[in-house]
């Protein structure tokens, strides 16, 4: 509470950025509605220059690029400004997240151009646009003095908490935009979008009712709820309008201005609806939680899924999928695969933390996790993990194929029922854990091929052996911590014996050999072979060093080497796929 330090200009700049993001969404909508997406065939330059001849649809496409570049600069400026002068850590990171989103968005936009508008990428671009808009709107809100200094409104005591309804509406608004993008890019029918509109309307009415019934004393919230209702009403009208106009002009020689503007307005008001829901959620999220979800709880649930580990797992799955795919990449199937895998991985991580909540509490490294820290009730974490992993398996089986669902189920079960209990009982837990640790690549493989093949097992082998030096290095680094929790990994129970040494050297050497097989089997080419051998030799060097020296420093180097080795081998495999 230091009003003097409030940076009014930073807040204004954030608001400015959010407004320009809205303009950018309108500009992007104009590109789609005018069918201008490919009027400039090259990217990042336009017709080989910064300023192409502005005729026909090039005006829309290039205009979109110019506004996007401007918003990119604004976001970079905002991120830097926040990083330097903001005191709240999470706001600083939010600024960086916005920057990452806008950069990714630019790359996605470029991909739509270079790969000739695949619907999956176009829809991804449309959805990330809304995510980015949400980020800039959030930044604009939380940098404001109102957010920082207003006293928290009183709880209304009603159930479900108002913030939960608002959160649900935000999710619904986002899903609704996704469904709308599906209709727009002719991937989906109208029915789901209509159902979404109905659901969102009910939620908005509920929010409005709750605001008027219980929050009369909070004019800001009341005003926001009223605005949501008004924006949504207009949005519904525009939705009907865009449908009617599109039907009436079916068979026209070109996109007509009326169709274009009504449709773009529909997209724009969709974004505004989302922004209203989000602002309400953020504001009401600060109401003292009566029960259930608050913003902090959401963060805890997210932490429970170990997002960074999910990201690593998805990388393996994507590589497996890509290596197994023949012909042009089926982006939609890859998306289903990654989504299903992410759900299973997140659920497994949550269940694992539920099982290990007692031992986690004993380690410095893990005692601040949501369960040991007492921020989340174990029963809830259990339910959350169970639902997530079950949903992921079912999703994989339904949207991809049964086999990949089964592989994912095996991964989850063997990790939880075999590896986790063994950790504190046997020194061979690393071996048991290496199986579920390496199966993500097989999930990807079976998703694309529908069967296990030798090549798939070879990729599995690479990931399998890679884990030993990786996890043994971690265990050496955190030896004391592990000891406290009773985890019986080799470097813990046998810090001086030959076991660790043998395992590190043996597995790194095995890795070197097995990483050559993809070329032998014709999965990858010569570049991969020599690259993988060079990387494997370097990795082996660090492994031998760590095994002989056994200092923390050498263990750290080995860990770093392992962290570089795997993504680089993956890159080689992908780039030199035969």
């Amino acid at each position: 509470m230091r009003p003097a330090s409030d940076n009014v200009w930073l807040h204004r700049f954030a608001v400015f950025t959010a407004c320009w993001t809205f303009i950018l969404i309108v500009a992007g909508g104009l590109v789609t509605s005018n069918e201008a997406g490919l009027s400039v065939p090259d990217w990042p330059l336009s017709y080989g220059s910064w300023m192409p001849p502005l005729v026909g649809n090039i005006r829309y496409e290039h205009g979109h690029r110019l506004v996007a570049a401007f918003v990119g600069l604004l976001t970079a400026g905002l991120a830097i400004w926040l990083w330097r002068s903001e005191t709240r850590r999470w706001v600083r990171w939010l600024g960086l997240a916005a920057l990452a989103a806008v950069v990714t968005q630019g790359v996605l936009g470029g991909l739509t151009v270079l790969f000739l508008l695949p619907p999956a990428v176009s829809i991804g671009h449309a959805c990330l646009a809304q995510v980015f808009f949400c980020l800039t709107v959030t930044l604009a809100l939380v940098t404001g003095g109102g957010w920082k200094h207003s006293s928290l409104p009183a709880a209304d005591g009603a159930r479900p908490p108002w913030s939960q309804i608002c959160l649900l509406a935000t999710v619904a608004a986002f899903v609704q935009l996704l469904l709308g993008a599906g209709v727009r890019h002719r991937l989906l029918g109208l029915a789901p979008h209509l159902a979404g509109a109905g659901a969102l309307t009910l939620l908005a009415l509920w929010i409005l009712y709750r605001a008027r019934a219980r929050h009369r004393g909070q004019p800001a919230l009341l005003r926001l709820a009223g605005m949501l209702a008004a924006v949504l009403l207009l949005q519904l009208t525009l939705g009907v309008g865009s449908y009617l106009v599109r039907e009436a002009t079916r068979g026209a020689a070109q996109p007509l201005p009326l169709t274009v503007w009504v449709t773009v307005a529909h997209v724009a008001f969709g974004a505004l609806t989302l922004a209203c829901c989000l602002l309400l959620t953020l504001d009401t999220g600060r109401l003292p939680a009566t029960s259930g979800l608050s913003m902090g709880a959401i963060r805890d649930y997210a932490e429970l899924t170990k997002p960074r580990v999910i990201w690593l797992i998805l990388m393996s799955t994507a590589v497996g999928f890509y290596a197994a795919a023949s012909g042009p990449l089926n982006a939609l199937l890859l998306f289903h695969t990654l989504l299903g895998t992410a759900l299973v991985a997140g659920g497994t991580a949550a269940l694992n933390q539920w099982m290990e909540r007692t031992s986690d509490a004993k380690m410095f490294r893990t005692q601040s996790r949501p369960l040991p820290a007492g921020r989340l009730r174990p029963a809830r974490a259990f339910r959350f993990g169970l639902i997530l992993s079950t949903a992921g398996v079912v999703y994989l089986a339904a949207a991809v194929n049964l086999l990949s669902g089964l592989v994912a189920a095996f991964t989850c079960l063997s990790y939880l029922l075999c590896y986790t209990p063994l950790k504190s009982r046997s020194r061979h837990a690393t071996l048991a854990g290496a199986f579920p640790g390496a199966t993500p690549i097989l999930v990807g493989w079976t998703a694309a091929r529908g069967a296990f093949t030798v090549e798939g097992w070879v990729l599995f082998g690479i990931l399998f052996f890679w884990q030993f030096p990786h996890f043994l290095a971690i265990a050496s680094l955190y030896r004391e911590d592990y000891q406290r929790a009773g985890i019986r990994m080799l470097p813990v129970v046998d810090p001086t014996g030959p076991g660790t040494r043998r395992q590190i050297i043996g597995c790194t050497a095995a890795l070197l050999l097995i990483s050559a097989i993809p070329t032998v089997l014709g999965l990858a080419g010569q570049i991969y072979l020599w690259g993988a051998l060079a990387l494997g030799l370097a990795f082996l060097y660090f492994g031998v060093q760590a095994a002989i020296g056994r200092t923390k420093m050498q263990a750290r180097r080995l860990l770093q080497a392992s962290v570089f080795y795997l993504p680089l081998v993956y890159c080689l495999l992908v780039l030199d796929k035969q």
């Binding site: 790359v107 991909l111 270079l114 070109q254």
Partner: protein
Amino acid sequence: MTLRTIYIIATIAALVCLSGCGKTEGPSTETPAAPPAAVTKVDPATAATITGKVTLAGKGPTRSRISMDAEPDCKALHSAPVLTEEVVTGPNGALANVFVYVKGGLEGKSFEPPAGSASLDQKGCTYRPHVFGVRAGQAVSIANSDPTTHNVHPMPGINREWNTSQPPRAANLERTFPRPEIMIPVKCNVHPWMKSYIGVVDHPFFAVTGEQGTFELQGLPPGDYTVAAWHEKYGTADQKVTLAAAATQAIEFSFKGE
């Protein structure tokens, strides 16, 4: 610290992988069909001909006007209103812009490679011609006769898709489609009303109807054939034809309008 490193490297790797995906995406469709067997010689003494007419039963839609108001460069090229070419009819229900070709009966035969290239012009911000045929592997020479920039974007199903810009006075684009495909739509995204359709076949027996609705397929060896007709709005129709030596067989296609 280490997790963060993993995270950063993984992100970079993902981006690299993404860019890698695209690179290997295209070429698989580019390999031309198997090299042709011995060229079939058609004896001119027994060569037969299929002639015919395509008609539209009932009324077609009125051709709507293309608005070039927003594009002065294009508008200046026309004194009369420009109409869409989706359904163009002639006297007595004749239907133009129908691609007629031999669909079956030539399996296993291959024919002299074509001489010269087919041409497609961008003139008055329209494609000339609106529908045309080309042999698989034959060059299509694409010209821009307009004082404005176009992009040429064919959207094939089994040939390779591409998208290239062509400024005014630029050299002609020479492109081929290695695989037979009925039909490849071509679009200009700068001027979204511009559409053309290319029929790619692996033999010389194809034609496009004009305003009289007539077509002629000459020089066919005697035998049994399936002849197909394609129209951009009314779809496809085919019929069987038996050709005697040196005969001329007349057939008719009729599409149903409203």
